[in-house]
């Protein structure tokens, strides 16, 4: 029973940490209608920066704002390439993602492990002071629940501001934004910056959680995020009161649970991405059949 509980706690932690990616994808894909492949590069970017900072002795919590800033910069690049240079949305993301691959290698090499002796946020002093008696696995669960919740509340509050309303309007109808005398290009760039800041922050937390960075850890993260958002929004399709961020968290947890079950049933790790792709395809097809509109364009 304990083994099972531990597995559930671990899976929940994964789902909650990776929910940050689905928040980001929720902004780019659902709100801005922008298929943003930068994600596959900005996720490991956040992890690379974190791994380097931690191994050099930086304070664990300091890595979070650094990851946010550097992720926003990645989003800014994609935004500028798309809006100012006029490159198509998908290609703009691919260009940044490709460039980031080399940047990540330069920063942290192909693999970087954070030694056991180094403190992560989960073993940092404030967390230990409050939750020192809780086993590491559950401490991770509590910290990631709090982080996922706080960020969700911040995002929900942002979407209710004037700026947030405008961001929601630009994906809906960018003509309206122009007639409101606002530069829609700038708004798109802002959306991409927020989204990739979240994605890099997710990479940062994953690095804290698993104490390692690898250059290939970004592969498939955009697909994961999309799948999570589509699972979440499909589930809550009829419940219009449920916020998009809630749907994104739930989608993320369900996705990670499904993968965990598949692995527990003996799925070889090498086949993981193949299963992910098939799962994603099924979700898309089902989503298109039952839902309407935006899902079709994925």
């Amino acid at each position: 029973m304990n083994v099972f509980l531990d597995l559930v706690a671990g899976t929940l932690t994964q789902g909650l940490i990776y929910a940050l990616i689905s928040y980001g994808i929720f902004i780019t894909y659902k709100i801005l209608d922008f298929p943003d492949l930068t994600v596959d590069g900005s996720f490991p970017l956040g992890a690379a920066v974190t791994a380097v900072l931690l191994t050099r002795g930086a304070a664990p919590w300091l890595t979070l704002p650094v990851a946010v800033l550097i992720g926003a910069t990645a989003g800014l690049c994609t935004g500028l390439i798309h809006v100012k240079a006029g490159v198509r949305d998908l290609l703009a993301g691919i260009i940044t993602m490709t460039a980031l691959f080399s940047i990540n290698l330069q920063l942290a090499g192909s693999n970087l492990t954070v030694p056991r002796a180094v403190d992560t946020i989960f073993t940092s002093r404030p967390v230990m002071a409050l939750l020192g008696g809780v086993p590491l696995l559950y401490r991770k669960l509590i910290v990631s629940t709090l982080l996922a919740l706080v960020i969700k509340l911040i995002l929900d509050a942002y979407f209710r501001t004037k700026n947030g309303l405008l961001l929601r309007a630009v994906g809906d109808n960018d003509t309206l934004v122009t007639t409101l005398a606002v530069d829609k290009g700038r708004l798109k760039i802002l959306g991409l910056m927020i989204a990739n800041a979240l994605v890099a922050l997710c990479g940062c937390l994953v690095c804290h959680e698993q104490r390692s960075f690898s250059a290939t850890m970004g592969t498939g993260q955009m697909v994961f995020g999309l799948a999570a958002v589509i699972i979440g929004t499909t589930i809550f399709r009829r419940a219009s009161r449920v916020k998009g961020t809630t749907a994104a968290v739930v989608g993320s947890v369900i996705y990670k649970a499904v993968i965990q079950i598949a692995i527990s049933l003996g799925l070889p790790a090498n086949l993981l991405k193949l299963v992910t792709a098939v799962l994603f395809l099924c979700i898309l097809v089902l989503g298109t059949r039952q839902g309407k509109g935006a899902e079709r364009r994925a």
Binding site: T161, K162, D172, N173, T175
Partner: protein, 257 residues
């Protein structure tokens, strides 16, 4: 006062599909005028609006508003002084936001869109009053998403949103063309009332010759980038639909339409 001076607009310059819509076109619109623009397809009506709003670039000429040259201003910057209602009722509102959120956005036009609360609850009653003036029962739909309203209702809201803040010009781009005749009639009546009540300067492109004759203080008929008819005041009042229909047919036949 809006002045278009020596406007030249060429589509696809240098290509085999090159089309010159305007060559040295001049137009001035007095403050408070309500100009209806008619003309067959390809006569340059919509291009004219797009040139004024900055949606399309021009080859040469200048656009002057109240003495200030805005030719180089970007589209979004020009929109500070221009309200625009499009043919497509979906273009003027955000379908995923509620009525209240849409109106709040429009109400904030010209100011900063910062991190203050998007919806000011104290304005709710005011919005309700403005909506009830439209007479379409929309005042009870403040919390309804715009996407679930009909085309006519959306167009009424779009008209309200476009004229909520002080503007120099109202641009109406065939804004009744996508509506059924009865709804079009209602929206046209509303438009006329809003323009009168708020003392707006308006330019309306329409395919409906009757609207062009009935409404507005000036009528402009375009044909291949030239004004073939431009009348205002008494002359406009004495104009009948049949008069302009015969002229319209003549130029249409010349064009092979």
């Amino acid at each position: 006062m809006l002045e278009l001076k020596n406007i030249t607009k060429v589509y696809n310059p240098g290509e085999i599909t090159e089309v010159c819509v305007f060559r040295d076109f001049n137009l001035s619109v007095e403050e408070g005028a309500f100009v209806s623009v008619v003309g067959s397809n390809g006569s340059g009506k919509t291009s004219l609006l797009n040139i004024i709003c900055g949606s399309i670039p021009i080859e040469s000429g200048s656009i002057v508003v109240n003495g200030q040259d805005i030719t180089r201003e970007k589209e979004f910057a020009r929109c500070r002084r221009i309200g625009r209602v499009y043919q497509n009722p979906a273009a003027g509102t955000s379908p995923g936001l509620t009525m209240l959120e849409n109106l709040s956005l429009a109400d904030n036009k010209g100011k900063a869109y910062g991190l203050r609360r998007g919806v000011d609850r104290r304005r709710r009653e005011d919005y309700r009053a403005q909506l009830s003036e439209l007479g379409l029962g929309l005042e009870d739909k403040l919390d309804v998403k715009l996407g679930s309203l009909s085309g006519g209702q959306r167009q009424a809201v779009a008209l309200l949103m476009a004229t909520m803040t002080p503007i120099d010009f109202l641009i109406l781009d065939e804004h009744t063309a996508a509506l059924d005749p009865k709804t079009a009639e209602i929206i046209m009546g509303l438009t006329d009332r809003v323009i009168r009540e708020k003392h707006l300067t308006a330019i309306m492109v329409t395919h409906n010759l009757r609207y062009a004759v009935e409404y507005g203080s000036r009528l402009l008929m375009l044909d291949r980038g030239r004004a073939v008819l431009d009348c205002a005041g008494e002359e406009k009042k004495n104009l009948a639909v049949d008069d302009i229909l015969s002229l319209f047919n003549r130029i249409s036949i010349e064009c092979g339409n």
